[in-house]
Point group: C2
C-alpha cells in the first residue's frame, strides 16, 4: 500500500457500518479481491494501481493483492507480507497486522489461508484478468468478465447496488475533495487557454492541478475543440481564436472517489453571438434539471426535461420547427443531444457500471430502443444520498446530421439553412455533480462558474 | 486509431526494412497482435491505450485490436472497421484500407479471416490477458504470460531481440524527440521546486511538460525526497529546505519510444557541502562510464567501472576504508549503489523486458549471484546503434545499512561515524540516455545539466 493513506477513527466507523449493512442484506459470506496491477508494455511496467471499487467500498483503502472476507459484519483480511528485499525497492511497508488495524479487520491471515475460508462465498469479478483467474481458482467456479456475473453472485451484486446507490458521510467527504480539485483543474484550464496553442497544453494544465493535489484523473480527459466527438481522446488540434473548447475532466481522490465535470469555453475569452445563444440553451437545460432534482423524481424525467428545454430553445432560435413536446416525442432533440442527461457517480465515474445496468436501471426496467432515450445510463427514482451528474449538451455531429435516413426523417422540422449559421458551435456540454438531499439537491461542483460572463472572465484571466 | 499520427514515406521505408530483416532471420510466418485496452475500474473506463511494443516495431503506429502477419518481408493487416455508431462517440476513423496504406501493408482483411492465415505462425504474447486468450485461440496452443514463451516462439524472440537491440533512424528520431521533451520536463521540475510544498507539485509540473507535447510518461514517475526508496511511487512528502529531490521521469513519444532520465537537485537551490561531495562522486561515475562507452565494450565492465569510481570516492570521503578494487570485489560499493548501471532503452523503458533476460543477457550468460551484480539488467558487449542508460547512484537505504548481517560483514570497511555526517543525503542518481556510435557514444539527453552549479542555477530560476 499506500504511503500517506491513513483512515480516521470516524472513517473506520463508517466502513464498519457499510459492512454491517451488507451482513443484514446478505446471509452469505463474501470474498472481495483488491486486484493487482495491469501490465502496460511489460510485466514490471504497470499502469498506476487502482484497487477494485467494491473492495475499496468495504476496506476503505487500496491494498494491492489483498482479499477481504465479510460475513455478518465481521471483516477478515488476507494479504501477504512483502517478500524479502522489497524494502530496497519499495521502502518500508506496513505489516499485515498494521493493515488489519487500519481497515478495522477482526483478523488477518496470509493469502495461503484463503482456500479454507472460501466455502460458499459470493464474489464480484475484478478487472485484471490475472486476479480473476485466482478468484475462479479459489472459489472453484467460473468468474466471468464484467458485466457478466456467475448466477450465484447475483444476490451480492443486488446488495452492493443497494448499499452503494446512496453515499454516506465517508463517501461525500471524499467526493467533495475530488470536486474541489476538479474545480481548480477547470479554472486552470480556462486560465491556460488563451496562451495555449494546442488542446494538449490545456489538458496538461488541468491534469497538473489534479496531480499536484496527489489525485489522479477518474477517467481519460476530454479536452477538445471537436466536442462533437463525444469521447474524443485526441489532443493534437490547434486552438483557433473562434473555437469553443470542451473540457470533460474529473479528479479521483486518493481513496478512489470520483468527480466528473464538463465546461465549454471560448478559447479567445469571448463567446460569439451564435455560441452564446446555443450555450444559453444548454445552460437552461442544465439549470432546469438541477431545479427539479429531488427525492422521488424519476431521473428519466430529468432527461426528458432537458430534451424539452433544448427543443424549445432550438425552436426559439429557428433551428427546429414545431411543437417542442412533439419534437421530443419524435426524438428530434437527439439529433443535437444524442446522449443521456447523466449517470450515477461514486467510486466509479459511471458508478457500478462493472455490474452492467444493475445499478443504473431499477428492477424490471431496461434500456429503451428509442434513439432519444437508449443512451440513458440511469433510470431510477432519485433518493436522498445519490450523487448523479447533470450534463446536457448540444452537438453538431456529422455522423448524425449527414445521415441520409435521419435527414429525411427530420427534414420537416430542421431548418438546415438556419442551422448553418451556427457553424461555429461543434459541441457544448455543461456537467455538474449533484447530491440529492432530503429536500432537493446540492451541486457539489457549484464553485465552478457556468454563467457565460463568469467563464469569459476566467478565460481572460 | 490514432488521430494525428501519420507516417512519412521515409518512416514507411524503414519499417519495411525491419520486416525484410525479420524475414531474412526467420523462415516462419509471424502474427503480432497490437492488443486491446486494459480496463481500470470498469470495462469502459480503460487505462490509456498502449499497443504492444513488438507490434509497434513492425507496424509503426498503434492500431487498437489489430493484428499483422509478417512473412518474408510481406505485411498483411487484420483489423475490423469500427462498428456502426462508433463515429458518434469516437469521430471519423480511417478505413481498413487507409490503415493498410499508412503502415505499408500489402493486403488487409477483417479479423474474421485471421484463422485461415494462422497456420504455423509464431507469435509473442501481449500484455492484456483478453487479447492473449484470442492469441491462444487463433493459434490453438497456449500463450503464456511474459516473460514465459511457448517453445515454438523462441526463434521469433531471438530474431526480434537481434533486430531491436540496435536502433534505426526511425527509432532514433523518435527517441530524440522523447529525450528533448524529457529534458524540458526536468527543467520544469527544477524550476517548480522552490515554490512547491510537496513532491506531488514537482511531479505535476514535470508531467505537464510531457502532456503538453502530446506525450505520456514511459513509466511511473519517481519524484521524491526519499530517493533511497528505489522505486518510490509516493508523492505526499513535504519538501524541506535541506532536502535533495530525486526525479526519475521520462517521456514516451506518440509512436511509443521511451526516454528515461534522472536528476537529483537541492530543493533550496543549493547543495550542502556534504550533498555536493557525494553528488560529485556519483557524477564522476556517470562521466567515467560515458567516457568509456563504445562498441565492443562490455556493459558489465561499465557497471564495475562505476562501482570502482564510487568506491574510490567513498574512500576519499572517509566513508569506506581500504583498497577500492578490493572493496568492489567484496561488493562493499553495493551497500550504497545496490542497483545496476542501467539497461537497454527503446520502445520499452527496460527494452524487451517482456522477453525476460533474452534481450539483456548475451547467449550463455545469466544473472550473477553476487550482491553487487545480480541487479544488472544488461550484460552484453555494446554495439553501435544500441541505446542504453547510464545511471549510477548513491543511497542510504535503511534496509541495507541497518541489516545486521551486512553491518557485520562490512564492519571493517565502513566508517559509520563518518557516514553519519552525510545524513542529509538519502538518495542521489544521475541518469542519461546514451546512443552507442561507431566511435564511442552520444548522450541523447546531454542538453540537461548534470553539473551541480548549472543545476543550482536552474532551481534558483
Ligand atoms: Mn459524465
Ligand atoms: Mn533507468
Amino acid at each position: 500500500m499506500v504511503a500517506g493513506l491513513a483512515l480516521t477513527q470516524e472513517q473506520r466507523e463508517l466502513l464498519k457500518q457499510r459492512r454491517q449493512r451488507l451482513g443484514e442484506l446478505l446471509p452469505f459470506p463474501v470474498l472481495l479481491w483488491a486486484g493487482g496491477r495491469s501490465p502496460r508494455n511489460f510485466p514490471h511496467n504497470g499502469y498506476p494501481y487502482r484497487a477494485s471499487s467494491h473492495f475499496l467500498y468495504f476496506a476503505g483503502i487500496p491494498i494491492e493483492q489483498a482479499v477481504i472476507r465479510l460475513q455478518a459484519g465481521r471483516l477478515e483480511l488476507f494479504v501477504d507480507d512483502p517478500p524479502p528485499g522489497a524494502a530496497l525497492w519499495h521502502g518500508p511497508s506496513p505489516t499485515r497486522e498494521e493493515l488489519a488495524a487500519q481497515i478495522g479487520a477482526e483478523a488477518a491471515y496470509p493469502l495461503s489461508e484463503l482456500g479454507s475460508f472460501s466455502g460458499e462465498a459470493l464474489t464480484l469479478g475484478v478487472q485484471d484478468a490475472a486476479t480473476r483467474i485466482q478468484q475462479a481458482h479459489i472459489l472453484n467456479r467460473g468468474i466471468p468478465a464484467a458485466p457478466d456475473l456467475h448466477p450465484q453472485d447475483e444476490p451480492l451484486a443486488e446488495a452492493v447496488v443497494q448499499l452503494r446507490l446512496c453515499q454516506d458521510a465517508f463517501a461525500l467527504e471524499q467526493m467533495r475533495t475530488a470536486a474541489a480539485v476538479t474545480v481548480e483543474a477547470h479554472r486552470a484550464g480556462m486560465a491556460a487557454s488563451r496562451q495555449a496553442k494546442r488542446e494538449s497544453e490545456v489538458r496538461a494544465a488541468m491534469e497538473q492541478a489534479i496531480c499536484a493535489q496527489q489525485m489522479t484523473v477518474a477517467y481519460t480527459s476530454i479536452v477538445t475543440v471537436h466536442g462533437e466527438v463525444l469521447h474524443n481522446e485526441a489532443y493534437h488540434h490547434r486552438l483557433q481564436p473562434g473555437d469553443l473548447l470542451l473540457a470533460d475532466v474529473g479528479a479521483e481522490s486518493p481513496l478512489g472517489w470520483a468527480a466528473d465535470v464538463t465546461r465549454t469555453w471560448p478559447v479567445s475569452g469571448q463567446f460569439s453571438p451564435t455560441q452564446r445563444e446555443l450555450y444559453e440553451v444548454v445552460r437552461q437545460a442544465h439549470d432546469a434539471c438541477i431545479a427539479q432534482a429531488a427525492p422521488g423524481v424519476e431521473y428519466r424525467e430529468l432527461h426528458l426535461l432537458a430534451a424539452q428545454v433544448i427543443a424549445s430553445g432550438l425552436v426559439e432560435l429557428g433551428i427546429l420547427r414545431g411543437d417542442p413536446h412533439t419534437l421530443v416525442e419524435r426524438d428530434a432533440h437527439a439529433l443535437f443531444f444524442p446522449h443521456g442527461i447523466g449517470h450515477l457517480l461514486g467510486l466509479d465515474v459511471h458508478d457500478m457500471e462493472d455490474l452492467g445496468d444493475r445499478a443504473g436501471y431499477a428492477a424490471g426496467r431496461q434500456r429503451s430502443q428509442r434513439f432519444g432515450l437508449g443512451y440513458l445510463r440511469l433510470d431510477r427514482p432519485l433518493q436522498a444520498g445519490m450523487v448523479v451528474t447533470i450534463e446536457p449538451g448540444f452537438y453538431q455531429v456529422p455522423a448524425l446530421l449527414q445521415d441520409p435516413v435521419r435527414r429525411q426523417r427530420y427534414d420537416d422540422c430542421v431548418n438546415w439553412e438556419r442551422l448553418a449559421q451556427f457553424a461555429d458551435v461543434r459541441g457544448i456540454r455543461i456537467e455538474d455533480d449533484v447530491l440529492i438531499t432530503p429536500t432537493g439537491c446540492e451541486v457539489l461542483t457549484a464553485a465552478l462558474p457556468s454563467h457565460p460572463e463568469e467563464i469569459e472572465t476566467w478565460v481572460m484571466g
